[in-house]
Amino acid sequence: MDSPGVKTPLLSVRGLQTQFLADEGTVRAVDGVSFDVYPGQTLGVVGESGCGKSVTAHSILRIVEAPGRIVAGRILLRRDATELDLVALSPNGRVMRSIRTGVIGYVFQEPMSAFSPVHTIGNQICEAIQLHRRVNTREARERGIELLRRVGIPRAEHRMDEYAFQLSGGLRQRALIAMALSCDPQLLIADEPTTALDVTTQAQILELLADLQAQNGMAIMLITHNLGVVAEMADDVVVMYLGRVVEQGPVDELFYAPRHPYTQLLLKSIPSVHSTRRAKLPTIAGSVPHPYSRPAGCPFHPRCPSFMPGTCDVHDPRLLPVEGQQFASCFLYQPAPASAPVADGSVTSSLS
């Protein structure tokens, strides 16, 4: 099916726009995001808090809560030679529900609150299994125990009948991963899976994810703000800022030759063992703008060291290839359009 050398992505997001309508204004949480996730590969989605990473994940699973809604774009899921647009599906319909955990698994950031406090872990895992597979209760329970073992939880048969508050943080996260994997999904979305854990446990969980990926051949979409995690786990990286993709590319290229000024600043701000003594830690000047007052033009321009007046604050850059597999959305790598921005609907030519 795939021609040699060309891989077909498992999930393709095209021009996704998700907005929240509040009294004070409309928040464009995801503002035209496109990327691909390939089978067996890990895509890292990086950005500061509030850049829209989680909303993107929720949009893929169609669990965005009111007052948020997807206003434009397509999310194409490819299974068995068919292509399904998730945006077109009804969120509570049978097809979408069968995809959740059946095809796309999701790992929460906070494992404690992701489990019901009044149901056992086993109850919730078996529920997931029985929703997507035709098995009886006994088989579901056996499968659940096997899953818990696979993620490295000792005494799995006993843990099945325990409640979330009886497990430690690391074990809870493992149990959460087990639940997400219960139906052999083709894609696992991990939303900040290690943020709530201590460093040692972090390393263990990441190792677990890598192992499981090697075993199952599943794709992973790893959402994080931790560049170290991305460097270790990801094959490709997407950098987001204020709801847009500003840079995209294979992990090595991104780390060795970042193109977009934002990515460059992010990498420079990682504390390093190798820096000189008493050197000041570089930071990115300014702060993320309030969602109700987005800057015009390129969203990063108020904080950008390469800001070009007249261009960056007027026109919207597009995500275009820079070199090889790297894409960047920056006027350093593309010519500014000759006409006035299309944002207000009118296009007037101006003397350049």
């Binding site: 699973l61 406090p117 639940m179």
Partner: protein, 337 residues
């Protein structure tokens, strides 16, 4: 091994509640005692005066015997202990007006109070739970506003007034005499299946009138709790697992919101038993309420005090039972103690 640890925690929880219950009963008995002896003059003088008013007399030695029996010439705490002793042996004293033992005068009425209170409680649960869930899930729908309005009525109209209005409308527009729990032919008849059915048939109106206020409060509690829980990550987690929306709501946040809901049962029961006294006076129900009222007006204090004591004990037992229910509902209490 795990089970015995659980068992231990259950036991310690129950023991704590039992001790508290005992203290509560003691407190109630002291308050009842206080009430009995509040009116000026002591019991025996009132008794003699009462007898005189009815044309009878009390011999001096009968009076002295009564005085000794109740310890009226001894310090207060001795009187209290004597009274407690008498009660322990089943002697609740004499009801002056009726010239009969208190226990006999009260008779079935205490059970009727239980029946009406339980009826109101059941009404409360049956109605408050679904409506609370519905108004939380379908906010701002038409039914939400309707239920909210009905809730306001339950909140704002005192139950005696509600009873009065029910009687008024029933009389004015249906020419019916609503009230009482039995048809005349069953009123004094011995218990039978037919009498029980008659009771059930008459139960709705008193149960609704009595339960309205508690229902309104419970609806608000359930709604608030469910709205809080609905937003939590474990609900999203259930949705992510692929559950249909109605099961997401019913299996998870409702289950968790049931806990604070159930814990209010402990305080709903005294409220309902309390309210049943007044409502049964207005609706002329054969419960303890009208009896208490008449006893208080006639200053028949032993009758009144005993009724108050019994109502209190009834409530404590009910609260204890509801604590058992709460414990069964919430595994955290079982496991964390």
């Amino acid at each position: 091994m795990m089970a015995s640890r659980q068992g231990e925690r259950v036991l310690s929880f129950m023991v704590r509640r039992l001790i508290l219950a005992v203290f509560t009963v003691v407190a109630i008995s002291m308050l009842s005692f206080l009430i009995i002896h509040l009116p000026p003059g002591d019991f025996v003088t009132t008794y003699i005066a009462n007898q005189a008013a009815n044309g009878g007399t009390v011999s001096a030695e009968a009076a002295a015997k009564l005085r000794a029996q109740y310890g009226l010439d001894q310090p207060v705490y001795v009187q209290y202990l004597k009274w407690m002793g008498l009660i322990a042996s089943g002697n609740f004293g004499m009801a002056m007006e009726y010239q009969l033992p208190v226990a006999q005068v009260i008779g079935d009425r205490l059970w009727m109070t239980v029946a009406v209170s339980v009826g109101a409680l059941i009404f409360t649960w049956l109605v408050a739970l679904p409506i609370g869930i519905y108004t939380a899930v379908r906010q701002r729908s038409i039914l939400d506003y309707v239920f909210t309005f009905i809730g306001f009525i339950g909140l704002a109209v005192p139950n005696f007034l509600l009873a009065l209005l029910v009687l008024y409308f029933g009389f004015k527009y249906f020419n019916a005499n609503i009230g009482g729990l039995f048809k005349p032919e069953f009123a004094d008849a011995p218990w039978s299946w037919a009498k029980f059915q008659d009771l059930l048939g008459h139960m709705p109106i008193p149960a609704v009138v009595l339960g309205m206020a508690a229902t309104a409060a419970q609806i608000r509690i359930m709604r608030a709790n469910l709205l809080d829980e609905k937003r939590k990550p474990y609900v999203v987690s259930a949705r992510v697992r692929g559950l249909p929306e109605y099961r997401v709501i019913l299996k998870y946040p409702v289950r968790v919101a049931l806990n604070p809901f159930a814990s209010t049962i402990g305080y709903t029961l005294p409220f309902i038993v309390s309210g049943s006294v007044i409502v049964s006076i207005v609706l002329s129900l054969p419960t303890v309420g009208p009896l208490l009222f008449k006893a208080l007006i006639a200053l028949d204090m032993f009758l009144a005090g005993t009724i108050i004591l019994m109502l209190g004990v009834l409530t404590v037992i009910g609260t204890l039972l509801s604590d058992l229910l709460l414990m069964w509902l919430d595994p955290r209490i079982r496991l964390e103690g």
